[in-house]
Every structure is written in C-alpha cells, then in structure tokens.
C-alpha cells in the first residue's frame, strides 16, 4: 500500500482494468503524494482534485458495468499550463492570464479523455513557454527533484519534474525549441517532441506556431508510446496537422509499438553520431554520451561519426523566427478581454496599452521587443527572411543525413543543470543552451530525450535522439533498447 505512485502509467492502468485496484484509490494516493512533494518542487499551478475524483469514480463504474474502456484507462496526466482545458485555468504561468479559463478543450485533451485518461491538473512552466529553466514563471521557479537548488529545465519544467518526482506517471509538455527535451534531460525522464504536424496544436497557446509541438513526458517508453498513440494524428481543427498539410501527404493511422530488444537489433538501424556537437559539450556530458555510443557499438549497431554545420546560424534563425511569431501571438493580450481591472482614466490608447502590457514577465517582454524589431520597417529581409533561408538549409542538411542514417545521436543539453538564479540575468547564456534542441524544431523532425546517466554531483544528463519526419518509431525503438540495457526507468530521485 501507498506505493502505487511509483508505478508507470501502463501498469497502473492494467491493475485498474483488472480490478486489482480502484481508480479512486489510486488517485487518492497520488493526491497525497502531490500534496507532500510538490511543496518542494512547485510543479503544479492548478489542481483539479474534485473533478478528478469524480472522473476516477466514473472509470470504476465503467469497469464494473463492463463498458468499453480506453487505452489510457485511469492514467492521470498532468498538463502543461499552456494547453487549454475546458473549465480549468490556463495561465501560461503569466500574470496576464492568471484568471483565464478556456471555454474549450485542446484537441489533445479531448483525445486523452476519449481514452479514459484523467486530467489531473496544470503544470508550471516558463511564462508562455519562453525559457530554458522554468524560472520565468509568475508562480515561481520549478525545483529539480534530483537537487532542489537546481533548475528543472524549461520551459516544460513542471511537466518533467512532476513525472520525475513520481507525482504523475505521464504529463504533456510543449516544445518550441527544446522545451520538452531540456527539462526531461535535467530531470532524468523521457520526452518526445514529435514531427511538426503529428500532434494537433489546437488549444495550445501559441508561442511560435511554426516551430512547436505538444508531446508526452513519462518515465517509461511504453507510457510515451501509449500517450503519443492517443494524441497524434490528423485534426481537422489544425490546418498544419499531418496529412491535412499537402507536403506530408500522409493519411494513415499512426501507431507506435514497443518491440523486443532482439526485434530492434534485427532492424539494423544505422546510427549517426553528431560529433561536433558532442565535442562542444561540457566534459561530463561528453563522457556520458560516449558511454551510450559505446553501448550501441557493443550491440553491433552500425555507428558512424558525422556532423551538423550551421548550428550557430540555426540558433540565430531560431530566435528570429520564434520571437517574431511570439510578438504577434502575444499582441492579443491588451487588457480588453484578458488581464486586469485597470481604469483607463488618465491614459490614452498607447500609454494604457503599455501600462497593461508591463505585466508580462521580463523574458516575455524581451522576446516581444526582439520579435517586433525583426519584423519592423525594412528589417524583414535582413532577419526574418534570412532566418527562413537558414531553416531551409538546416532542413536540407537533415534530409541528406537521413539518407545515410536512421537515427542521429547527440546530447540534449550542452551542460549540466545549473543552480536556480545562476543564469536568470544572463539571457544570452540561456539562449545558447538551446543550440542542440532547436535543430529539430527548425527542421520539423522528431526528437527525443532519454536519461543517459548522472554527473559526479548526481545531476541528470540526457541523450538526444533525432530521426526523419514521421519516423518516431525509430526513436521509440532506440529508447526501448537503452531502457532495457540501462534500466533508467528505475532511476528515481529520493524525494
């Protein structure tokens, strides 16, 4: 008793299905866990206890009545607070949206609920997804479960930390330039940023529309695959979703499977090692990644060194595109329908607007300013257009690489988790940390971060896997291989 929170989602779901435990009982235990642990982690912004209990009871009833049961039966899922859930506050960790309650569900929420998952609450993050450390939140920073003086990574810090600290088995994050993978790496859990268009963005509060995707975070590859299966696929509410977009031309049911290790080895995957990016990482990261590469070699994967050019241009391109889109996306928060009860007396239109918009956090303001600048008079060609060109170059480079390799391996983050507060005043240093993760966002390809090991200080290190678009199965296979060999699903912080 009292240990259910340690189980991965698929195992709990099995027990509930087999009526070994009640969903209600399990949920109650999780609440206890959350109440105890989250004081130290700060991963939740809002919890949905009442309706969650109701939902759990419904599920128990469904089972009793022999009704049709969904694939995520009884699995509680935490949702990053930039994904709209009907009737639940969706603040984006921003002061400006602190009272905003969406009147509709994001497509991913509808799909999770259809599979009988339970939306347990909303998770902390960097405001509007802008950050690499989950420190830029109106609700305070997220603490790393492995060492609470350290950042959890960002921007989906709450989503990764809640899973890592056994508060929820599965969560959803969003990834614009590494926002799922970075905190997964820092908190030692698995997270995937799917191919652009694989998962509907309908209901995800846009930061940078052309870069971001929603993806699952979990402690086991099975949970990742099950959740991804539930949320992926064409959505008529998103013109950029797969197969509704002309370029993808895919109209299939996506379904990812967990293969046996032998089965995976039998697929003869060709692995490319992004040598130049491994080399430019901190030495402990470098060492850990090399250990993983050696593991691959030991199991007769075909492993070859390769490199990615233009990664420094990519970073610049990423920040131009992301901030440009962000500046436009966030302009709707003008206090006419969101925000505060500010008396306009004594203001004219512009001064009232800037008064209201001063409520954005520092990092958001910074990005709105940069974005407005790159789009302004005469600079479009110099910045935005050039950034799009770089984007094409990066995409072409990946196209070439995926003719040679099935999967590319590199670190998720170039450094170890850092102390809370250490880099808050150094935005450029923070931006530079995104250099390995933004590549897949620019190219629209899937990318996964899996636990790779720990530093001497006991801080987690993540391994990043990239594959060609709509080839998430390769990532799941390689992750399954490492999970089997390393048993990283058993690496649990002692919180």
């Amino acid at each position: 008793m009292g240990e259910l929170h340690k189980l991965p989602g698929y195992q709990v779901s099995q027990k509930i299905r087999n009526q070994e435990i009640f969903a209600e009982e399990y949920i109650s235990q999780l609440f206890e866990r959350i109440d105890k642990v989250d004081l130290k982690i700060n991963s939740f912004i809002s919890k949905n206890y009442e309706s969650v209990l109701l939902k759990a009871k419904q599920i128990d009833k469904k089972i009793k009545n022999n009704e049709k049961l969904g694939s995520l039966l009884g699995i509680p899922i935490g949702i990053k607070d930039n994904i709209s859930v009907l009737g639940l506050k969706t603040t984006c960790a921003s002061r400006i949206l602190q009272e905003y309650v969406p009147p509709y569900n994001a497509t991913v929420i509808d799909r999770l609920e259809k599979q009988d998952a339970i939306i347990i609450g909303k998770l902390n993050m960097d405001e509007f997804g802008m950050g690499t450390s989950s420190e830029f939140s109106h609700y305070g920073p997220v603490h790393n479960p492995w060492n609470q003086e350290y950042v959890a990574g960002g921007s989906s810090g709450g989503s990764a930390a809640a899973v890592s600290s056994l508060q929820v088995p599965v969560s959803l994050g969003s990834d614009t330039g590494g926002s799922i993978r970075c905190p997964c790496s820092f908190c030692s859990v698995i997270g995937i940023k799917p191919t652009y268009g694989l998962v509907s963005r309908y209901g995800l509060v846009s930061y940078s529309n052309s870069l971001e995707q929603i993806g699952p975070i979990a402690r086991t590859v099975v949970d990742i695959a099950m959740t991804l299966n539930a949320i992926c696929g064409r959505d008529s509410n998103d013109n950029t979703s797969a197969s509704s977009s002309a370029s993808a031309g895919i109209d299939q049911q996506f379904e990812y499977k967990i293969d046996s290790v032998d089965g995976i080895l039998g697929k003869n995957y060709k692995v490319g090692i992004i040598d130049n990016l491994i080399d430019s990482s901190e030495y402990q990261v470098k060492e850990t990644v090399h250990k993983k590469i050696n593991l691959l070699k030991e199991h007769d994967f075909s492993v070859h060194k390769t490199k990615i050019n233009y990664s420094d241009f990519a970073l610049a391109a990423y920040y131009v595109i992301a901030t440009a889109e962000a500046s436009s996306n966030l302009s709707r928060f003008d206090n006419i329908r969101y925000g505060f009860n500010y008396n306009p007396e004594g203001y004219e239109w512009n001064s009232y607007s800037s008064h209201v918009r001063s409520n954005f956090g520092e990092e958001v303001k910074r990005r709105i300013l940069v974005g407005s600048f790159v789009l302004s008079a005469g600079y479009y060609g110099k910045y935005y257009l050039k950034a799009q060109k770089i984007r094409k170059i990066i995409k072409n480079e990946f196209n070439k690489l995926f003719k040679l390799f099935d999967v590319l391996v590199l670190p998720t983050m170039p450094i170890l988790p850092f102390r809370i507060g250490e880099k808050v005043a150094k935005p450029l240093e923070l931006y530079n940390l995104d250099i390995y993760t933004i590549l897949s966002n620019l190219a629209g390809i899937p990318a996964m971060s899996i636990p790779a090991g720990f530093s001497k200080e006991g801080l987690p290190i993540g391994l990043q896997l990239l594959s060609n678009e709509f080839n998430e199965q390769v990532l799941i296979d390689i992750a399954t291989f490492f999970e089997h060999k390393d048993k990283f699903n058993e690496w649990i912080p002692s919180i």
Binding site: S84, T90, C92, P102, N239, T240, S245, D334
Partner: protein, 530 residues
C-alpha cells in the same frame, strides 16, 4: 523626390489610351481631368458564404444578438487556430476571374499586426504582395463603361477601363459600438465581435479614375458582378465598403475612409477635389493623409495619423500553410462559374438578337435580367418580352422610384418584383404577338394586371365575356342619352357624326364593353325612328 513619384505614376496612366472626351458627365471640368487621380479600395463581404473565413460561425452576422455569433477562433482565444474556408477562396477567385486578374499558383496569408480594439487578435489575417505575388488576384483590367467595345474588341478607345492592382482575401474585424452618437460624451464603448472573421475581398484599383461619375459607373459595374457571381449581396448594409484615394496635380495622395454608401463616395470625391484644388490655389501644399468622411456634415475631416505601411510588421501566417491552387485552378473555377454580365450581354445581342441598348439595360440589373430570363422561358419571344420589361415595366418602376423617392437598389428591386411576375409579362407578349389584342388595349390590360395582380389572359377573357351584346341594354343607354340631350336628334339630320358621338358616350359609360357595331346600328335606328 515628389516630382519623381508623380511622373512615375503618370506614365503608368498614360499607358492606357482612354478617351476622356467620351465622358458623359457634363458637371466635371473636362480640362482638369488629367490633373485628378482617383483610386479605390473596395471591401466586399462574401455574404453568400455560409460560414466565416476561418471558423464555423455564420457569415450572416446581421440580426444576431451582440457577440452571439462567435467562437474561440473568431474571438482569437488563446490556442485557437484559423481554419481556411475553401469556398471563400473559390468565391474570391471568381471575382478575380471576372476582373481579368491573374491568379497565382500558390497563395499565402499574412499577418498584418496593429493594435485596435475591434481586432480580436490584434492582427488581421490578410494577404500581402510585397515579398511575393501571393494574393488571390493581381494585375487585372476591367472596363466599366461601354461594354460593347469590350465585346467586339474594336472600339477600345470608346470604352473606359480601370486597372486592378490586386485582390486579396482577408478577415473583417469586429464592430465598435458607441451608444451615444456624439463620441465626446461616451465614457465607454462596446465591442461586438459578430462580424469578426467574416470573409472580405479587398479590391485595390490603380488611380485610373478621373472623376466621380466614372467611379460610380465602376462601382455599379462591380457590384452587379458580385450579384451575378452569387458571392455577395451588395444591398446588405455594410456588405460593400469603399476607401477612396484622391490626388490633384502637384499634391500628395489623400485617403478617405469610412465612406459607407456609393452616393457618399461621389460626394466625398467632389468635396475632396474641391478642397485640394482650393488648397493649391492658395499655394498650400496638399499633404499625404488619411481623412474620415463625416456622413452627417458631408465633409472630410483629418483622421488619426496613418501608420506607415511597414509598421504593420507583415509576415506569413504560420497557422495556414501556403495553399497550392495549381495551374489549372483558374480553368476549373471558370467552368463552374455563373454567367457574367458581359457574357449575358453577348448572348442577348447574338442569340436573342436584342439591341445593345436594350441588352445593356437588362443586364445592368441582375434582378431585371433574371426576370427577363424567366419570362423568355415561359414564352420564347425575346424581342416582345424585353420590350415589355424595358419600356413598360421599368419605366413604371422608375416612376415609382421618383414618386416615393426610393433610394437604394434593393427597394427598387422589391418594387420591381412586387408588381408583376414573369408569367404576366410572358402572357402580354403572347397576346400581342398572337394579335389577340392591339397594343393600346394591351397596355391597358397590362396596367390592370399590375394593379390587380390578375393574369392578363384572364383579363382579356373577362373582357370578352363582359362585352355588352344585349340590344335591350344598349337601347336603354341610347334612350337615356337622347332623352337628356334632345338636340342631338335634330343635329343628326345634317351631321352624320352625331351617331359616332353618341357611340363614344356609350363606350365611355360602359367602359368600352358595348359591342360597337351593334351599338352603332341601334343608334342609327333610334335616330331614324325619333
């Protein structure tokens, strides 16, 4: 710099060989034509679409309680995404084809970023051609006067045309509602988002117009096209709106916004030309500015300073992937397009053998033309039917218009429709062509038919049945007259016309129903016997 700009646009205009002598407006000062440039930006709502441009809310927002026609998408709620209405692209393409525009193989939507309370997202999803030619239409040319010239391709010099710079598809903003008409005493305003997201086609012309009359002709022409295409009902309030650019030689371009009716478009042009000329006369330079049309005072007033074009921070809308229309798109749309006025005109002239003049009158109002089509279907005599419609029906409608000072086209249409059905017109044509009745009687029957709504055939029938052929009845009439006017009997001895005079009286009394031959015979008998 300014002079360079001027010569450049002037040379553009010179490429067109319009004949301004052919202008039929005597009010305008002919000599000043070359000095005036007028361009238009017309916004036309695609009112015939069922749903808005990017969501499932109704296109017809009128008469719905404020903010009752909204959803997360058109309200721009966080996380909502625009879903392009494909039908809107088709409708916009039809407009482009009718105005002889090019349609690119790929179209792109752009965000136009500016803060305004009626704009739910604080950007408008629109199209933009500065970075690539990707708006739904560009480089068109449409004649708006003397379509015949367009038709036979011979007398081009006699027609007038305007170049279309571009056509773009975009979303309409919401509406700001002031409860008090005097904005100074309002301490709040309300926003109604019911209109937000309605599909709008913006048509931008080159500054090829020289006077207000031409602008009116053009506006009539294109609103007629909208109706023929079935994409928009221009009679709906706010469905077609117009911004006007006016410049006189030596001055900068002035944009007039907020002109809500076509009559006011003309008035605002007259006002603006006069204002600008007066300024130049006093050697005050006309500065580039945006002015508002004050509907009540019928003058233009300076508006808030217009933001520079580049301050709109345009960039491609990331939520709507570029739409590949393909090279055969135009052909496919054209195939399924309703008949255009110009095509109908051609058919009337060539197949129905109607005159240009008559065809023009019919075609210029879709309602009238459709009425004609219906009538011809019932009785196939284009000449006779067009004659009844143009010479009888329309002149009556016009009288009605004058009498009751019916202002707009929709009232006129209503008046037109309520009067008579195609069946009645077809019957009239049939009666006249079948020589059942002569033209004068036919006109009377027609009048009666319009008044009573009864079928002309039935009226004629009744007329025959009611003809008085009973000698006793006629005799009574004769006796009555002769007893009242005894002198007639004496006069009849030396004046043979007296009999006819009496006949006339009887016809008048009986409303022409007395059988004339029988009556005359009886009159003569009566006189003789007296």
């Amino acid at each position: 710099m300014d002079s360079k700009h001027m010569t450049q646009t002037e040379s553009n205009v010179n490429q067109l060989d319009f004949d301004s002598n052919n202008n039929n407006n005597v009010n305008d000062d002919v000599k000043s034509y070359e000095n005036i440039k007028i361009g238009l930006e017309i916004h036309c709502q695609l009112t015939r679409l069922e749903t808005k441009l990017f969501c499932g809310c109704f296109s017809n927002y009128r008469d719905i309680q404020p903010n009752g026609n909204t959803c997360p998408i058109c309200l721009g709620l966080p996380g909502s995404l625009p879903l392009l209405n494909k039908k809107a692209v088709e409708y916009a393409s039809m407009i482009c084809i009718s105005l002889n525009c090019n349609i690119p193989e790929k179209i792109t939507f752009y965000r136009k970023n500016y803060f305004y309370p009626d704009l739910p997202k604080n950007f408008q999803i629109t199209q933009y051609n500065s970075y690539e030619l990707s708006s739904i239409g560009f480089d068109g040319l449409i004649s708006y006067y003397n379509d015949k010239a367009e038709l036979d391709n011979t007398g081009k010099s006699k027609s007038k045309a305007v170049r279309i710079k571009r056509i773009q598809l975009e979303e309409d903003p919401g509406k700001i509602v002031h409860e008090e008409s005097n904005s100074k005493i309002n301490n709040y305003c309300l926003i109604d988002y019911n209109r937000a997201g309605v599909a709008l086609v913006e048509i931008v012309t080159e500054p090829d117009f020289k006077n207000a009359t031409d602008v009116r002709l053009f506006l009539n022409k294109i609103t007629n096209i909208f109706e023929y295409l079935g994409v928009s009902d221009p009679n709906l309030e706010g469905a077609v709106r117009c911004d006007v650019n006016v410049s006189v030689k030596g001055g900068k371009k002035v944009e007039i916004k907020n002109v809500s009716s076509f009559k006011d478009v003309e008035k605002s042009i007259f006002y603006e030309i006069t204002r600008q000329k007066t300024l130049s006369m006093h050697e005050i330079s006309v500065k580039s500015e945006t002015r508002h049309w004050d509907e009540k005072r019928k003058i233009t007033i300076p508006a808030r300073t217009k933001e520079e074009e580049d301050e709109y921070k345009y960039f491609p809308e990331p939520d709507i992937p570029r739409i590949v229309l393909g090279s055969d798109y135009k052909v496919r749309i054209k195939e399924n397009m309703p008949e255009l006025p110009i095509e109908r005109l051609k058919r009337y002239v060539e197949n129905h053998k109607l005159s240009n003049h008559i065809s023009d009158i019919l075609v210029n109002n879709k309602n009238v033309s459709d009425f004609y089509e219906e009538s011809v279907k019932i009785y196939n005599s284009p000449k006779e039917i067009s004659n009844w419609i143009v010479n009888e029906l329309l002149s009556k409608t016009n009288e009605l218009e004058k009498d009751e000072s019916i202002g707009n086209k929709s009232d006129k249409n209503r008046a037109f429709n309520s009067q008579v059905t195609p069946r009645q017109i077809a019957d009239m044509a049939k009666l006249v062509e079948g020589k059942s009745i002569n033209r004068n009687i036919a006109k009377e029957i027609f009048d009666k038919s319009i008044r009573t709504g009864e079928s002309p055939l039935k009226l004629v029938e009744n007329l025959k049945v009611e003809k008085i052929q009973d000698s006793e009845i006629i005799k009574k009439y004769i006796d009555e007259i002769l007893s009242n006017e005894k002198h007639l009997i004496e006069q009849s001895n030396n004046n043979p016309n007296v009999a006819n005079f009496i006949l006339g009286k009887i016809m008048k009394k009986t409303g022409g129903r007395a059988d004339p031959q029988l009556t005359l015979k009886l009159i003569k008998e009566s006189i003789r016997h007296s």
